[in-house]
């Protein structure tokens, strides 16, 4: 039970980063980006190229790719979403589905369908009471916690973070408060790229690298963001932990193969009983 709960916590922390990326993008650009899974996959393969093919240690490889992927996301926005920005959220969502399909197949074209893994030294698991923690899990928890703390500082203490929240809150008021929304959109994509790159690496450490690796997390990631309240960064974090915990604990009573159904059930229940999620606000169309 404790071990299962710990595993759930790790899963939750891993999906917290892409959930935060989704919720930031949704807050600022008002569309659900279904390409997050494939974006994580591509970023993870980029890290694989530096780590395995060029022999870089995993940490600097991840850092370099995270920054590079931030710029790649700005470029992807420029060619994919920006021309469609005035067409509304549904159009952008469909575009994100298409982009995800393209990106996943770019990864497949480059590296094939075979499962791969990062070059990480094997290490003996660490035991704390009755909980067995392996090094990848510890790394995931530390990295994700640091990333979330940095995001908190960015969003609450730095002008660009406050501006992102302001644009998410009221875009037209943000304009007349002197905020250049185009610049904030670029920042949002950059941060999204960094979060997705780190998230992709954590997923790649947790399981094998393969083209559908990111896509297989999309439902869990979206259910975390929806449970927490789309647009709420704190909600994304709490929602991710809850989804991770519930999904793992559910395997105590249902066969593990059906675990994927848990986030779907959570989405259904949230949409029925609290559509705005735990920390979200009711969206009023006006």
């Amino acid at each position: 039970m404790l071990q299962t709960a710990f595993n759930g916590l790790v899963t939750g922390i891993i999906i917290a980063l892409p959930a935060l990326a989704i919720t930031l993008l949704f807050g600022v650009l008002k569309f659900p980006n279904f390409a997050v899974g494939s974006m994580m996959t591509v970023a993870a393969y980029m890290v694989y190229a530096l780590n395995v093919q060029l022999g870089w240690p995993l940490l600097p490889a991840t850092a370099v790719v995270a920054v590079a992927f931030g710029f790649i996301c700005i470029a992807l926005d420029y060619v994919t979403f920006r021309p469609l920005r005035d067409r509304g959220g549904i159009t952008l969502m469909v575009a994100s589905l298409g982009l995800g399909f393209v990106l996943e197949n770019v990864a497949r074209f480059a590296y094939g369908n075979a499962a791969r893994s990062f070059a990480i030294e094997l290490a003996r698991p660490f035991r704390f009471f009755d909980i067995r923690m392996n090094r990848e899990q510890m790394t995931a928890m530390v990295v994700a916690t640091i990333a979330m703390a940095l995001m908190y500082v960015l969003l609450t203490r730095m002008p660009v973070g406050r501006a992102m929240r302001a644009v998410a809150d009221n875009p037209s008021l943000a304009l007349v408060r002197g905020i250049d929304s185009a610049s904030i959109i670029r920042w949002t994509w950059f941060i999204t790229g960094v979060l997705l790159a780190v998230g992709g690496v954590l997923i790649g450490m947790d399981r094998a690298l393969e083209p559908p690796m990111g896509t297989s997390y999309v439902i869990a990631v979206f259910s975390a963001a929806i449970l927490g309240g789309l647009g709420s960064p704190l909600g994304a974090f709490v929602g991710a932990l809850l989804i991770g915990l519930v999904s793992e604990l559910a395997t105590l009573v249902i066969p593990p193969n059906y675990r994927i159904g848990i986030p779907l059930c959570v989405i259904a229940l949230v949409l029925i009983f609290r559509p705005q999620g735990i920390f979200g606000q009711m969206y009023i169309r006006r």
């Binding site: 002008p159 302001a166 008021l173 304009l175």
Partner: protein
């Protein structure tokens, strides 16, 4: 008196039709100009166009003699125009202090120095410091309006544009807001406001502009408009259909 702001032949609107059909006005430096008119006369469309939220289709907008017609809203802010919308005028999910910080950081284009909230601002809005940590969305309507007003003043603007500053306020806040506008104006800030509460607004104004059907139908000094015995009729909507006072004034 020199003029800080001028609009010439302004056309703007939504969809195919124009709502503003050739608006001309000017604001003298250091003055308060109030725009009144019936519902649907284009007042709010005009201030949105002046703030840059709606594209001007034709005409010219000049701030201190320089055209700002093609400026984006942030660039207009940096040029010296502060705009206070009628509603949704604060970031509801941010605290009062965060609202003020954003205004200070971005309205100045990053050039602001000194404290986020100056002593002058605290003197104008003494309630603000005690509410710094409150979410703006949890404030009362009057407090939100005061916060929006304070945000617009974190950087001293050349021209303050306000869209119905007293809308939905209790009598106490209504009186306070007009007092504040007058005090701000006394510091040298020119003010252009749209207001339904015509009598209160005109009492502190230098000039009055009456709009109807997307055009300026009357531009006169505020005192003489206040003296018109049938101001209420004028304000409520007969302006467009040839009201006696209006026609008299227009002819003059």
């Amino acid at each position: 008196m020199s003029e800080v702001f001028r609009v010439e032949g302004l056309h703007a609107g939504y969809g195919a039709g124009d709502i503003l059909k050739g608006v001309d006005l000017c604001v003298a430096t250091g003055s308060i100009v109030t725009i009144i008119g019936p519902n649907g006369s284009g007042k709010s469309t005009l201030v949105k166009t002046l703030a840059g939220l709606l594209r001007a289709r034709q005409g010219e907008i000049l701030l201190k003699g320089a055209s700002i017609r093609d400026y984006t809203p942030p660039r207009r802010v940096h040029a010296g125009i502060s705009y206070v919308p009628q509603e949704y005028n604060v970031f509801r999910n941010l605290t009062v202090l965060e609202n003020l910080k954003i205004a200070r950081e971005f309205m100045s284009g990053g050039r602001a120095k000194g404290p986020v909230v100056s002593d002058e601002l605290v003197a104008l809005f003494p309630e603000l410091p005690s509410r710094f940590k409150a979410l703006a969305g949890n404030l009362s309507g009057g407090q939100r309006q005061m916060l929006a007003f304070a945000c617009a003043l974190t950087v001293k603007p050349e021209l303050l544009i306000m869209d119905e500053p007293s809308a939905g306020l209790s009598p106490k806040y209504m009186s306070d807001i007009f007092d504040c506008i007058k005090k701000v104006n006394d510091t040298g800030v020119s003010v252009l406001m749209v207001e339904q509460n015509a009598i209160e607004a005109l009492r502190i104004s230098d000039q009055c502009i009456v709009m109807a059907t997307g055009r300026v139908r009357l531009c006169s000094d505020a005192a003489s408009v206040l003296d018109m015995p049938d101001l209420q009729t004028l304000y409520l909507g007969d302006a467009a259909s040839g009201h006696e006072s209006l026609n008299r004034a227009s002819a003059a």
